[in-house]
Amino acid sequence: MDDASSFVSLNDLRKESTLTIMEYMAMNKDEPSVANLAFNVFYERFSSAFMVTCEKVCGPFECLYDGLAEVIFNNAILNAYLKAGQFNTTNKDSQKVDNDVKKWLYGIANTEMYIELRKIKASANLSIVEDILVLESNIDHEEPLIAECYEKEILEQALETLNDKEKGVLLMCYQFSEDGKNIPSDVIDRINTIFNIKEPNRRQIKKRALEKVQQQVNYLLSKTKPKK
């Protein structure tokens, strides 16, 4: 069989749709040279936004995990290459396909964060759980019907009212919960280990953090409302 890379160039691949790129990447075992070229194109399209997202999401935990963003970025995007065959979408529109790829990538990144969270527990000489990597290729996220998002500045100022522990507990609870609601029991266990708290304290800290944020958001919104 001819080496496919001899007749596929990087420039050719740049003209291809994301779906085709994913298909080429999925050939990483049989045609590694083509898959590597396809990965370069994939990387050109998605890496910078993904890097910024990783830096933002991991930012609040940098005091706990130095270099977390780099690890999540590296391991998640590498997994996207290795598991490209698992990606699928029913969308045909290129923008929607790109968004589906991003959602898939964020799902992998979330799993990677969870793996790192478990390592903290392992390094604290507690039980070590075998890694189970879950790659969700179909992430159907149903958007609840709620009002618009709060502005970035309002969020930033509201989060400034929290100390590191409050901010970390609040964000980790949401990061690893399903739609912000159900928090897996072992995630709770690890959050408590990381922040050196007990379960009743976690609930209290989360509640207090939420109240502080809400209070500050309401205050800031009341200031921006036009006076009658």
């Binding site: 910078s48 936004a49 590498l78 390094s123 009002a147 912000g180 159900n182 928090i183 304290n201």
Partner: protein, 115 residues
């Protein structure tokens, strides 16, 4: 995370504020975005950073050659039993803290700020 068990005791009822807050966190990069709207909003708000990140990211070949990064994290937070015991005491009793306890809590807060 399908390997995880959800237990009913962990259910929290989310208020409208909390739902809006989570959506805002996802749209502003505090949590990974999960919907088209959240992704688009995040990228709209961070156009400049995304453009400048192009020069910061390692090359694709570097990622493939490097493989997985395995890191053993060491907790940098120190165990402060005294602080947690004081908080637990206040939580357990559910009473108005005495002046002595308030002072102790204030000292704890200052202690953690100065770390």
């Amino acid at each position: 995370m399908s390997d995880l068990k959800l237990i009913p005791g962990n259910l929290d009822n989310l208020s409208e504020f909390e739902l809006r807050l989570i959506k805002s966190f996802r749209s502003n990069g505090y949590l990974f975005p999960m919907s088209d709207e959240e992704i688009e909003r995040f990228e709209d708000c961070h156009k400049k950073e995304i453009r400048s990140a192009i020069s910061k990211v390692p090359s694709a070949d570097e990622i493939l050659n490097r493989g997985r990064i395995e890191k053993n994290w060491t907790l940098s937070t120190q165990v402060d039993e005294e602080v947690s015991q004081n908080m637990a005491q206040a939580a357990r009793e559910g009473k108005t803290p005495t002046d002595a306890l308030k002072q102790k809590m204030l000292d704890d807060r200052n202690k953690s700020k100065n770390k």
